[in-house]
Symmetry: D2
Subunit: 146 residues, 4 copies
């Protein structure tokens, strides 16, 4: 198998293992759409229990979708990796029933530190959140090596 095919197979296996253990992501109805090394695309639908007092999607849930997608992108080379910090802006609000999609892309990986850009859009294509995440690799593997 080529290196690229191996990396892809590993990325998918890691994502599957993460998802199986990820009570939080499954509880929010987050689903995995696409995995590539250093990349993830995931989806979530805004439910009634995700609305805040202004009757829009609570920033915490939008953040959670972005943060989860970030985690699946930065862990999928099978090195346990955590978020060191994130910043997020909300150009538009998400509403009940909106189908949100988040894409996480590796912007930079240097030693144990990485920078990822995460974009969350509604079904209309409108951007509802832009996150930039700093990752830090710690000890350990997510799954036993293939």
């Amino acid at each position: 198998m080529t290196d690229i095919a191996t990396a892809q197979r590993l990325a998918e296996a890691v994502a599957a293992a993460l998802y199986q253990r990820d009570h939080a992501a499954r509880g929010m109805g987050i689903t995995v759409l696409e995995i590539r090394p250093g990349f993830a695309r995931m989806a979530m639908t805004v439910r009634p229990d995700m609305l805040n007092a202004h009757d829009i999607c609570h920033g915490g849930y939008t953040f959670a979708l972005a943060d989860t997608t970030f985690a699946y992108a930065c862990n999928n080379r099978n090195h346990v990796t955590v978020a060191a910090g994130c910043d997020i802006v909300y150009p538009a609000a998400a509403h009940l029933g909106d189908g949100l999609t988040a894409v996480a892309e590796e912007k930079l990986l240097r030693g144990r530190s990485g920078i990822y850009d995460i974009t969350v859009t509604r079904q209309t294509g409108e951007v509802v959140a832009l996150m930039r995440g700093q990752s830090r690799r710690i000890e350990g593997k997510v799954i036993p090596e293939l």
Copy 2:
């Protein structure tokens, strides 16, 4: 009644109204501990459905507690106010059963824009998240004027 007492009574009434409408905060078991003008202190216990694949509290839930506390601080003068952006760092992980407390303090308020600092600690006093939020006041009141 003094101005200070009026502002305090308004802040508490706004927080109570927000909480009643806030499906997301109540769904996460977030409770209001203390409200003052421009200030809020709130709590949340880490539940099994809040754990991620690394078996620690999902960053989205820690963020959601911080973000909720920020919202109750920046809205409680009764001007509808939204988060324009946030950045968060996670100095330590939160675990199952941890009792988290978030404190949101107004650092600066200038025209329609504000800056709030939010600190989330575990029951041990250890800091698990530091957030800085930028708020932006929009049109409207949270509740009818007292």
Copy 3:
């Protein structure tokens, strides 16, 4: 002239006008390499007076190059626009004599607010800074309309 050609001519005229008035940028030896609507590419060489006590380029000067490039990108549609906030990370240090290039790209423009990504690289291609800037359009034109 097409709309695209007009926008390009305007962007270049605005950048030229900004540069002529920009004591700070010229004092740091910053030069303009490329201007397109919502985009700028600029350069700076690290001088001895830009070194800090660790004998590397002072973060303030790296930031200043990134911030200047951001300004030329977000103002070049001829609406006066200021930075509301920025975050920057430094994946690597810049050293004496390094030729730095900054590229600012518009990530999002919505109403009066925008998000720009700025990347600063050394002559080797290594990334020395990643900035994300939030812009806010205020009243006024940079130059009289063409």
Copy 4:
């Protein structure tokens, strides 16, 4: 000598050594007003060569004052420490001749990582910048141990 007096003497000696080597800070006319362990207060006057095309203090120079003050706070326990990332907001503009003061305070120190809050004010007391910096301790001492 007490531990406190020793830490204070060390912090002052480190700051003096940093300043002597710091071409960038001295070139900008930055001065040291107060040093304590994990704390620094520094000043800078806005000069004509610091003005940008909008005729206000270039964000890079305001940033540089904040960043320098941050560096003197996070290095003064004599462990070489670098900025891993910063975010800054500008609540107000600084103008020609303004006397700016920056205060950097340690918010959190955990292992090799720290969080510092830096506030820059004008002579009127108005806040012109709020920065939050993430520090990372690397190998080495700033000066030989006292």
